[in-house]
């Protein structure tokens, strides 16, 4: 099929970007979306132009490297699907597709469609862990965990850290990402001892990185390729409030 692509091109963080138009005459419906971009890049190199930079790695929907806002949707039009798993049979001959990077102040553009998501690593660094050093764990079956609880923890832990929630949110909030990690660890007894400290530290860091606030649009959940629920945000808010009271802490957002 024949496709017209409008692709965001930006040489460097400091330079202005623009949408460039490209025509692909022979796209196979069996191609993945990223394979279609591979074909575009091979052509661009062939005619001496700079290929389009985009992040990708596993190409099976688990590493979280791929991104892209496709026709206004983070990871494209299909639900529960990363860009690398989107296939061209979703499109029709003659379609025009607009491809942009994930946009958020906290995700500065590196080049073209590549953005810097290291803010997520810094939020994890703030508290997204359990402080048990290597060798100190008790026998794996020493602590029993009800199956339903383990399953709920796993539902939250399925987050791949791609940042689609941020890209989809009108406020560029990272609440779904942060709450998924907070819930995952709060639901497990192993995460219990640091529960209060963790939620305070991660939320503080999130604010510091320049992510926006949640105003209950639920766009994050709609865009999430792993179906992470906004229930996690409610869970995190409860934990946060509890932690503020218990730790007698002043939230960072109200400090100067």
């Amino acid at each position: 099929m024949r496709l017209t692509l409008k692709v965001w091109r930006q040489e460097a963080p400091s330079q202005a970007g623009r949408l460039e138009t490209y025509h692909l005459p022979d796209v196979s419906p069996d191609m993945s979306f990223l394979e279609m971009l591979d074909v575009l890049n091979e052509r661009l190199i062939g005619i001496g132009e700079d290929p389009v930079a985009f992040d990708h790695d596993c190409r099976e929907g688990i590493c979280g490297a791929c991104s892209l806002v496709i026709d206004g949707h983070a990871h494209g039009p299909e639900s529960n699907t990363t860009t690398c798993q989107l296939h061209m049979r979703r499109y029709a001959d003659g379609d025009t597709i607009c491809i942009e990077p994930f946009r958020a102040n906290a995700f500065p553009i590196v080049k073209d469609l590549v953005v810097d998501r290291s803010a997520f690593d810094r939020i994890m660094e703030a508290g997204g862990f359990v402080s048990v050093p290597t060798g100190a764990g008790p026998d794996a079956n020493a602590v029993l965990i009800p199956k339903e609880r383990a399953e709920r923890a796993m539902d939250a832990a399925a987050c791949i850290g791609c940042g689609a929630c941020v890209a989809a949110c009108p406020n560029a909030a990272a609440m779904l990402f942060v709450s998924a990690k907070v819930s995952h660890l709060a639901l497990l007894p192993q995460g219990g001892p640091e529960r209060d400290r963790r939620v305070l530290a991660m939320v503080d860091r999130m604010d510091l990185e320049g992510f926006g606030n949640c105003t209950n649009h639920y766009e994050c959940m709609a865009a999430c390729p792993k179906g992470i629920s906004v229930d996690n945000i409610a869970h995190m808010n409860r934990d946060y409030l509890r932690a503020v009271l218990i730790e007698r802490r002043t939230p960072a957002s109200t400090r100067d």
Binding site: L34, M36, C58, H87, V130, V132, G135
Partner: protein, 644 residues
């Protein structure tokens, strides 16, 4: 080709005595570094998969200073994340007769008697601690209603020793190890460097003392000095172009270390995974694995009639050939990966394959769905069925999956001793990057076990011997050795950019992969391998004459990154094929057509090939030297593997 039998360069340093006591004794005999002195040592860890992240976390907890490097934008994206099925351990929670001894035995046998007994026994011992640690740091493993951990069986084993987190075990383990490492970043003991590609190991006075990296975002070259270098950079499966590996997986770090003195062992030991989604066309960029766990219920078959193009639902039961059940009645669909892959290939080559290309077999869930109901099958495999449907637009609940083998894992890698130290002093190699404990074939769910064992529980002890036993004077990144390394690396980048030919790195990579797949894939023979070596050389020459890399090296340039990796694959491919050529026996994933039983099974030649083949690099143009480390088996007696 120079050959050194029982090479003195390959001292395994395995302790002697009863195998059960060796690791304990070795740990006791290793010199300790006192806690205050640990703060004075700095370790460079390259790669942040299971091995790298767990090593970085554990070393930092001990007090060492650690710098970590990864090529992805975040350490959480390392390819360990894509492992689906599970992680083995000898816990014996299901009470079905498992033990450290049985896991050791299965792994040595599954590896077709081409691994070191001492290492494998240690791996089995440590496996239980790995599960304890992972649970303690919050890995949400699957559980039973009573709250205990759940186990399942996996290909090549007859006990249920595999722990899992849905079909995302690798993801959950990696995020666990990553979070442990991020805790140390917060503590200031780990310094994180993302989007960095290691391009050289810097050797000072014969010891690995630093690395040179390219910052992929800015194009800058960076120098880092340390007291030890740890490579956790994964396998080289992408030399085949199409594989289940992530696109960025490469051999570059290992290959550059090889050129600086680390021997490369058993490169021909590659694993083809039997159940992957078949190739759909020329545009194919990678292949997707369908977990081995599917073979617990799914039945593999092809039509009994050659070239039968009827849809599978129209082929009656008596006209179906359940070829694994037919050939291997006792293991059936659960035979190990190498055996299953060859059986699929044999049927397809004989003209019984299905699908448009004829290069596929069916993996059918009709019978288990009839037996257990769709809900049960959905609970077990729902995410895998969804993934299959996304790729193929076919519904595996109603029509069988089409699958074909694909390149998946590499057992070969840099040679290491019992301390995981390579032949280049001060350079340690962990996880898939080393030549490892899997011999000639890895069993399912054992890669995660090895990566975490190496990183959490082995290296943190053994690297102490390096610090306590060697004089390590301070080294500055201004030392002439760093100048020389950076000069070499820069020259190579400039050379890639200066060819200005007509073909892209991707086009060359695709062609290289096809040559290897055709002649050095699931079945190999002398004529084909010689042909492959000639063609690799010719293609490599063409690469350096006709390569086109757009742009320059002064900023993010993904084409340049890829070209550098392909250039290394071209050099490495020749070594892989040469190793396959010299090993005229069949063993595990290495199948030489000249060495098979009457029934077409792999036939080892223990009298001539019971050794690890470690290759020493010499300057361009001269053949590598083959060093042999003889393998001895005191506990598991080598026998012909049989899964009939």
């Amino acid at each position: 080709m120079a050959v050194i039998e029982a090479s003195p360069r390959l001292a395994s340093k395995c302790p002697s005595g009863p195998i059960q006591e060796r690791w304990d004794r070795h740990r006791f005999e290793l010199k300790l570094v006192n806690p205050a002195n640990k703060r004075g040592f700095h370790i460079l860890v390259v790669g942040t998969g299971l091995a790298g992240a767990s090593a970085a976390a554990s070393l930092a907890e001990l007090g060492y200073g650690v710098s970590v490097f990864c090529i992805q934008d975040s350490p959480r994206r390392a390819h360990s994340i894509a492992a689906q099925g599970g992680i083995n351990a000898a816990k014996n929670y299901p009470n079905d007769g498992d033990s450290v001894w049985r896991l050791f035995y299965d792994t040595v046998k599954g590896g077709d008697f081409r691994s070191r007994e001492s290492n494998v026994y240690r791996l089995a011992q440590v496996s239980n601690q790995v599960i304890d640690q992972c649970v303690a740091i919050g890995v949400p493993f699957a559980r039973e209603y009573g709250g205990v951990l759940s186990n399942r069986s996996f290909g090549g084993a007859q006990v249920s020793r595999t722990f899992y987190a849905r079909g995302q075990t690798g993801q959950q383990l990696l995020l666990g190890a990553y979070s442990a490492m991020m805790r140390q970043v917060a503590a200031g003991r780990v310094r994180l460097h993302a989007r960095r590609e290691m391009l050289d190991v810097v050797v000072v006075d014969g010891v690995a003392r630093g690395i040179v990296c390219r910052n992929l975002a800015t194009g800058q070259y960076e120098r880092y000095a340390g007291d030890g270098v740890v490579l956790c950079t994964g396998g080289y499966g992408n030399v085949f172009y199409l594989s289940t590996n992530a696109k960025a997986c490469n051999v570059t770090a290992a290959w550059r270390a090889h050129k600086r003195g680390a021997f490369f062992a058993n490169p021909c030991f590659t694993q083809i995974h039997p159940t992957c989604v078949p190739v759909s066309g020329r545009h194919q960029a990678k292949l997707t694995l369908m977990s081995e766990s599917l073979r617990n219920d799914g039945r593999m078959w092809v039509p009994k009639k050659q070239g039968d193009v009827r849809p599978p639902s129209s082929i009656p039961e008596e006209e179906r050939d359940y070829f694994l059940e037919r050939r291997y009645p006792s293991f059936g669909n659960l035979v190990p990966r190498d055996v299953a892959s060859r059986a699929v290939k044999e049927r397809c080559d004989a003209g019984f394959g299905v699908g448009a290309s004829g290069l596929a077999a069916y993996l059918d869930f009709r019978d288990p769905i009839r037996r257990d109901g769709k809900t049960v099958i959905q609970q077990k495999y729902g995410n895998l069925f969804e993934m299959y449907q996304k790729i193929t637009a076919e519904n595996p609940y109603s029509t069988p999956m089409r699958i074909y083998p694909a390149m998946h894992y590499t057992m070969g890698g840099l040679w290491v001793d019992y301390n995981l130290e390579s032949t280049l002093p001060g350079l340690f190699v962990l996880g898939e990057a080393n030549f490892s404990d899997h011999g000639a074939n890895r069993l399912g769910a054992s890669a995660l076990m090895q990566g975490l064992s190496d990183g959490f529980f082995i290296l943190p002890y053994t690297i102490g011997g390096h610090f306590a036993g060697r004089k390590l004077p301070a080294v500055s990144t201004e030392a002439p050795e760093f100048d020389e390394s950076e000069r070499v690396v820069r020259a190579r980048t400039d050379k890639l950019l200066s060819v200005q030919g007509r073909r892209t790195a991707d086009a060359f990579h695709r062609e290289l992969g096809q040559v290897l797949w055709d002649y050095c894939g699931m079945a190999r023979n002398e004529k084909g391998l010689r042909n492959a070596i000639d063609r690799v050389r010719a293609l490599r020459a063409a690469f350096w004459e006709d390569l086109r890399v757009p742009g320059n090296g002064a900023r993010l340039n993904q084409s340049l990154e890829h070209a550098g990796r392909v250039a290394d694959f071209f050099e490495f491919a020749e070594l892989l094929a040469s190793d396959a050529l010299h090993r005229t026996e069949s063993c595990g994933g290495h199948f030489r057509e000249e060495s098979q039983t009457e029934e077409g099974e792999a036939m080892r030649d223990d009298a001539r090939f019971s050794y690890a083949a470690a290759w020493e690099h010499h300057p361009e143009g001269s053949a590598p030297t083959l060093h042999k480390e003889p393998l001895s088996f005191e506990y598991v007696h080598p026998a012909q593997r049989s899964y009939k």
